[in-house]
């Protein structure tokens, strides 16, 4: 697959490391066991569009969030996870 890193441009997916489901929000470190159990273990695992994280580990090493269809692999809306650097990538 080809992923367009906002900083480096379009690259093969083998340059990236998969970061899993981005809709999972990890709670505060001292949150309840149920909240942590859900965040660590439960996944929606959709057959369709999934909002997910990737790290450009072979390139600039920033973490990205994007939407990918898990059936057709079409990818859209690639942006840095850390919103505060969205301006710095242009």
């Amino acid at each position: 697959m080809r992923i367009s890193c906002p900083f480096c441009g379009e690259r093969d997916h083998s340059e990236f490391t998969y970061g899993g489901d981005a809709s999972v929000t990890f709670p505060e470190l001292d949150a309840s066991l149920e909240e942590w159990n859900d965040a660590v273990y439960i996944r929606s695992n959709p057959k369709g569009v999934l909002r997910e994280k990737w790290q450009h580990s072979g390139g600039c090493r920033i973490w990205l969030v994007l939407e990918r269809d898990t059936l057709t692999h079409s990818i859209s809306q690639v942006e840095p996870v850390r919103l505060t650097i969205s301006e710095l990538v242009k």
């Binding site: 996944r43 057959k47 898990t70 692999h73």
Partner: protein
């Protein structure tokens, strides 16, 4: 249904009488005692043992396409029982035993070939790990032999023993009873035997929803009408999350893409199953028709596409040639992908669910094919008795919340790393 044997083959050849259908193809009834969703190896095996071991025959197996169209027909057909942790060792050890008599049990030659499976050892740490693993196997009645480099060179002379080899071979852990089987034959064998015992196998019948009565599941909606059932069982592997979602289940599973490869048909080249897990993963064996069947790691991202990408193909080819240099000139004829339903600890789930009357078998990861007989055995017990048997008790859905995860790879709650 006529019995299969050389004699019957002779009789049909001489008389020219056509063979009857291997499994009946009935219209779905409106009501069954048990409905099993998923016509792969696991679903059909469960139906067979329900009928054979527990006498429950008013059973339907609903398959959205044709039987064996999912992972059952897409794997690399390897059978082994060299698992390390409590729960896995016993379960896969039992499956190994069931394989040995499966052809005669089903009266269908599944071509189970215990030719010996070898786990390659490429460092002193690997040897230490193999000592522990083989001791656990022997203490569970599973045959194991630790081979040193010289013994390996005699047994499989065409691995790479040259000084320039990238993955030096220190030895191998041989499981003599490990091997391969013809995956389609397992599906057809269980289907035929189950059908003979009265199980209805309904193809081209996709489940589109569950029927509920409060907290209880009472049947399913399908593309061929509504089917009521006292007990409903899920055995849909890669699509476990989709089916689970229809019932409101929240599951610790991600579906990943696992590619598999087959070469052109060759005269006998490799007599064993070779597994390499030291860096990434690679496994290879030769089918009876002569094709080299091999595979490697997942494609490392969620996918239902059932078709892989080039980098993973190149990595598997690189491991193949680094380990067995003569494979360089052998040509790949076909590569495809399955949907690998991997749980958060890499071990399967055979369990009741929070919904009454709904039972789940899923999350089989790389181990689905080799687990087929024992999965059917244990899941049928759970459905018939409403309780897990000793073998499948560790694989409950609530093990994650209890902290009783079974993590063979030791890589934690990241499915793609198992």
């Amino acid at each position: 249904m006529t019995n299969y044997s050389a004699f019957e083959l002779l009789r049909h050849a001489v008389s020219g009488r056509p063979w009857s259908r291997a499994w009946r193809n009935p219209e779905p009834k409106s009501q069954y005692d048990v409905v099993i969703v998923g016509g792969g190896g696991h679903g059909l095996a469960t139906a067979y043992y329900l009928a054979k071991e527990f006498g429950i025959r008013n059973v339907a197996v609903l398959e959205k396409s044709h039987i064996g169209s999912g992972n059952a027909g897409r794997n690399t057909t390897i059978i082994l029982a060299n698992y390390l942790l409590a729960g896995s060792t016993e379960f896969y050890g039992h499956s190994q035993k069931l394989w040995d008599t499966l052809s005669s049990e089903l009266n269908f030659n599944v071509m189970f070939s215990p030719r010996g499976q070898i786990l390659l050892l490429n460092s002193s740490e690997d040897v230490d790990g193999a000592v522990r693993r083989s001791n656990i196997m022997l203490r569970h009645g599973i045959e194991a032999r630790l081979l040193d480099r010289a013994a390996m060179q005699k047994l499989v002379p065409h691995l790479d023993y040259r000084p320039t080899a990238r993955f030096p071979i220190w030895g191998g852990l041989l499981q003599p009873s490990g091997g391969t089987a013809r995956h389609d034959a397992v599906v057809w064998g269980y289907a035929r035997a189950a059908s003979q015992l009265g199980v209805d196998i309904i193809q081209n019948c996709e489940v589109t929803g569950f029927l509920r009565d409060g907290g209880r599941i009472t049947g399913v909606e399908t593309t061929r009408g509504r089917v009521l059932s006292k007990k409903t069982a899920m055995a849909v592997a890669g699509h476990t999350s989709q089916l689970g979602e229809m019932a409101g289940l929240r599951l610790p599973i991600e579906s990943h893409l696992l590619q598999a490869f087959v070469s052109e048909p060759l005269k006998p080249l490799l007599d064993h199953v070779i597994d390499f897990v030291s860096h990434g993963q690679f496994y290879i064996s030769q089918s009876d028709k002569g094709g080299m069947v091999f595979g490697g790691d997942l494609d490392m991202y969620n996918s239902y596409a059932q078709r892989g990408n080039l980098p993973a193909v190149r990595d598997v080819a690189s491991l193949a040639v680094s380990l067995m240099p003569c494979l360089g000139r052998v040509r790949l004829v076909r590569h495809w992908g399955g949907i690998n339903d991997m749980t958060m600890d890499g071990s399967p789930i055979i369990s009741k669910t929070p919904l009454e009357g709904l039972y789940l078998s899923g999350g089989w990861g790389y181990s689905g094919f080799k687990a087929t007989p024992a999965s059917g055995w244990c899941f049928s017990h759970l459905i018939a008795r409403g309780e897990n048997d000793r073998l499948s008790a560790p694989f409950s859905l609530d093990r994650f919340a209890r902290g009783a995860t079974i993590d063979e790879a030791g890589t934690g709650p990241i499915p793609r790393l198992h």
